[in-house]
Subunit: 730 residues, 2 copies
Amino acid sequence: MKKNYRTGRRFTGYLLLVLLSFPLLARSILTGEDGYRLWLKYDPISSPVLSDKYRHQFSHWQVLGESQTLQVVRQELDYAFRGLLGKSLPVARSSEASLIIGRLANLPAPLRIEVEQSVPASKEGYLIKTIRYRGKTVNVITAKTDIGALYGTFRLLRQLQTLQSVDTMHIASEPKLKIRVLDHWDNLNRHVERGYAGQSIWDWHKLPEYIYQRYYDYARANASVGINGTVLNNVNADPLILTPRYLDKVTALADVFRPYGIRVYLSVKFSAPQLTGGLKTSDPLDPAVRQWWKNKARDIYQKIPDFGGFLVKANSEGQPGPGDFGRTHAEGANMLADALAPYGGIVMWRAFVYANEKHEERSKQAYSEFKPLDGQFRDNVLLQVKNGPVDFQPREPVSPLFGATPNTSLMMEFQITMEYLGFSTHAVYLGPLYKEVLETDTYAKGQGSTVAKVIDGSLFGHRLSGIAGVSDIGSDRNWTGHILLQANWYVFGRLAWDHTQSAAGIAGDWIKMTLTHDEQAVAAIEKMMMASREVTVNYMTPLGLHHIMGTGHHYGPGPWVDSLPRDDWNPVYYHKADQAGIGFDRSPRGVNAVEQYFSPLREQLSDPQTTPEKFLLWFHHLPWDYKIPSSGRTLWNELVHRYYQGAADVKAMAAQWDHLQDKLDPLQFEQVRMAFVIQQQEAEWWRDACVLYFQQFSGQPLPDGLEKPHHTLAYYEQLSFPYAPGQGGK
Amino acid sequence: MKKNYRTGRRFTGYLLLVLLSFPLLARSILTGEDGYRLWLKYDPISSPVLSDKYRHQFSHWQVLGESQTLQVVRQELDYAFRGLLGKSLPVARSSEASLIIGRLANLPAPLRIEVEQSVPASKEGYLIKTIRYRGKTVNVITAKTDIGALYGTFRLLRQLQTLQSVDTMHIASEPKLKIRVLDHWDNLNRHVERGYAGQSIWDWHKLPEYIYQRYYDYARANASVGINGTVLNNVNADPLILTPRYLDKVTALADVFRPYGIRVYLSVKFSAPQLTGGLKTSDPLDPAVRQWWKNKARDIYQKIPDFGGFLVKANSEGQPGPGDFGRTHAEGANMLADALAPYGGIVMWRAFVYANEKHEERSKQAYSEFKPLDGQFRDNVLLQVKNGPVDFQPREPVSPLFGATPNTSLMMEFQITMEYLGFSTHAVYLGPLYKEVLETDTYAKGQGSTVAKVIDGSLFGHRLSGIAGVSDIGSDRNWTGHILLQANWYVFGRLAWDHTQSAAGIAGDWIKMTLTHDEQAVAAIEKMMMASREVTVNYMTPLGLHHIMGTGHHYGPGPWVDSLPRDDWNPVYYHKADQAGIGFDRSPRGVNAVEQYFSPLREQLSDPQTTPEKFLLWFHHLPWDYKIPSSGRTLWNELVHRYYQGAADVKAMAAQWDHLQDKLDPLQFEQVRMAFVIQQQEAEWWRDACVLYFQQFSGQPLPDGLEKPHHTLAYYEQLSFPYAPGQGGK
């Protein structure tokens, strides 16, 4: 049998060292924060001054109206104030309230007149304003809709949770993107594809009758950051989801989520008419097929009047699609769009498509497939594009599709779950990744044509806009398997609402709401989080390397893998290391993937000297002694340096965390501490395996002074992980 | 596609009725008891009088000694007293203590002399005694070992949790069975075979570094009822569990459990020497094979000095075994026993064996296989026998093996998980089932030879004794998927410690510790629990019917199934309904399974007139108009009556529960309420499907006045549940 790197003999001494350097071994912690409450802990505010001030300002509050959403507002405020301001607080509901919450239309006329100019136009926007009313100071949260009022309520609570001033508030906010959804790659058997936090939180067997409190808390957490949709099931969709039995289960969830402003969407299998409908074809131009989908949409909307729509993975990785019937993606998407349009539903059609038969380089295929279809999609179709042209790597350049389809609404697909980033034991804050992508200039309409402007519709004037995050949520008590990874759910939601916010600022809010208010600790953790993604890129895939992880499960390094049936599934296809050098020549001298970008980006990426170092080996195959401009090191030495630096940085992060012990809840501290033990080991595993593997080609020694790899390359190559979590096809 | 019974059209009206009859619909409950704390809630004692008394008596306490187990005692006492007696209680640790806990050897001499005569002889026994010492009243908890002191501590806490008097305590207790284990049918991919409460609580991927608090709480709960062992993995064992990588993970769990007196055991695959050891055979008489197991045992004990031993499913349902090499079960078991003996380990060898090739009736096979081997097993082997001769049915007669092997130690295998009893949505308290089995007289050595005396070793004078419960624990927040099913884990442990206790008394304790102290509510819930198993037998398999559930997943009724490759996998094999009648003739006129029982049980079961009605159709095929002595009804009418009575009783239980709403925590109440909605529907599903199916053969009408079945038989027959939880082979 293959052995595990973690328990090899040579590691024993090292492990002992690691253990000795941690004073705390695992122990029972009976009273601690297990992480379930996320960023909605509402623990008592420790500053008596602030607490008094908040209590004075909010102890009399009134919610105007009786909708389910406003009942949620009441419940949340009651719960939050009791927590934040002390259980003894008398929560009064009086017309003499100093905090008034309600839809604009429900406000008393004088109050309405006072604020209506400041209320954002969008349905979901809100206004929080401190005004003088009837001779006293009153705080008003209002909006065009009840959902807006709920968003405003969570916004006010954040002010308190982060200990902000509430003296003269004037906060007006509305979302820059209309569709802000989590994609759950959850199977009906509760296996989560690429899930690393237990199983699916949807207990399909017990639905529709049995409703977990967790379903409500999921909705609360999403609403608190402005997420307004959820795709319940895997894009590798099971056709059973559209059968009446499962639609009743979906309906039960939709009923739970509705008051929180969250619409339910479903992933559908394109061949459902054949698989569950008894039809002989699923051809999108066949009238019976079109009618089947129309009937299906009608049935769904009878149960779920605010159903969001469909997400489709078609003609990709073995999934059926319109191509099976000689039709285009547009013809397939439009058929579904036509079925949903009468009810206001939308289609999110994935652009993650690559077909072997074309023999085109994989990173180029989505663009080649969809660019020619621009303008052919119905206006309730969103083309859902992954941020990079390959697949959620630790770092990729942006997909060339962004900006390339002026007549088609594109939405972003980010991954929140850690498929390629260490599962749920590596602390990687994704805020910087998201921001790097969103702020990338595509030059589609000249300078300033950022990806953010493409997807928010402003660049080409689209009505529909959206963003999806592939969820990192599972049944683990702390939701995401790692406390710090809760921040990725949080930052996704916050950026989905407003992509101009800073990743650091959002991290700071999250830390204060989740971990600690100690200023030094907040600063230290924020710094650690902001650096964490670059650290991981360094020990996994520095300098533009990509897709060199273990096969199938994507756990750990596997740059040697060369035996998969498709060439573009093999890591060797992506790094192309040989004695001459390393990297994928996607320049005009190679596969010319750069041609899909706009000028001047195209030209910049065509030349190694003008290509950002972070993308160097993505676009160029370079000799081992190529000089890296920023450091003056040879490529080989720079590569080695980055791997070692990444691993060393993890060690430093772990040590930093240990120093914060006194500032943190013991159970939160301990959970993260244990994960850091694993991350340290795995960072060195990545470093050693990759350096040894590439050394075969460079033929050069390790620079002086570096710790020797813990094992031989042969050792790393024979490791096997048949039960690594999150695998596909289960 | 097949439809679901729950959502069929005709059910709509019915469902509406059900919903209207429940004032509460599901709603968010932000502050409630989610069930995680089990019976160790330690909420403040509401009676000020009692609380004062306890506080007075226990506020100064001292634990003598520094072992890990005694640290656990300290932590538990501190946590429990703070909870039960109020957070403001000053928990002093002083030599002036009025509560002293420690091993006998650690007590001050005068104290030791005072109590040592009363301390039970067994290592795990304990004494709780109130004495006069140094002129004041002192409560002593002592034992031969630290583990005994821990058990005594939990026993004292139970006194407080159930509001008992602590004025003059003299409680001496020791376990009647030595091995008291939970069997986890948990796969390494976290799927739990026959698990209905989420996935496995063992996160193998994150072990050994990442230790969930849940592991500790699992150990606490087990220790609190005296469970002293855990078999971590499925009896359908994966050979990887014995590889170094997984043994390191097992070691981490063993380290967690050790202070709580819980030993770790593993299920092993008999062909492991071939599958992971590189040998060409697994023949138990082959020297290389024997050496391989010896080396494996040595390796395990190096890591886990108190490792418990192996559990083996061999030559059963496709598992490999000694029979593959022409060897007997004894030869197979003894090889493993010899490998473990030097370290004090044991082998639990399952008697759940049935082989098609023999063409003997399935209920007879285990006896036929093992009876001839009596006397051939090493004395560190326990033969693990399921309570009934078929497979954990809602009701079975006891296995004829009990009492049949005077020279072999038998241990009991009970099922705690609800494979055949409605998964985790039917409220079935198993105390009465366990007691019915344990108190059954086998007549092996004349009257009074109960099953309990067989397994506790007293009947035949065996040193080793044991009991195993197939766990109902999973990752669900409330552990067992249904609050009331926590009681089955609890009652299993309590009866494993002392099988003479009453099921009702244990239920009462559990209710007080878990749900409420309201006397009326306790009485009502206890009554409901005590009746619940009989209710379920009635709506599933009345009068001795068995194994008529859906195929594979065992969800819902499937008496019509006749297409499985083995005849004895088909429900029709077991009920044998035809126009002449129904039931399995296992009398001497039939397959003569009764011959395996001792006289006079054998004769009693041979005659329908003397066979208890509860086993009637287990042993006899009887005509539809056979007169049931107790009721005077015909067999057909009695069968129908029982099905309808069972379903009606569930409705009554659910209504009863609703009446208790004010006495219960809102979240606990709501969880059980929702499960009752499902149980009511499923009880009627069972009733309708079975009555309609058997009616085909009886040709008789339903008695007057009974509600018509909700659907046709054809409807029930086409229902399909591909994702029913807990299926094997996943």
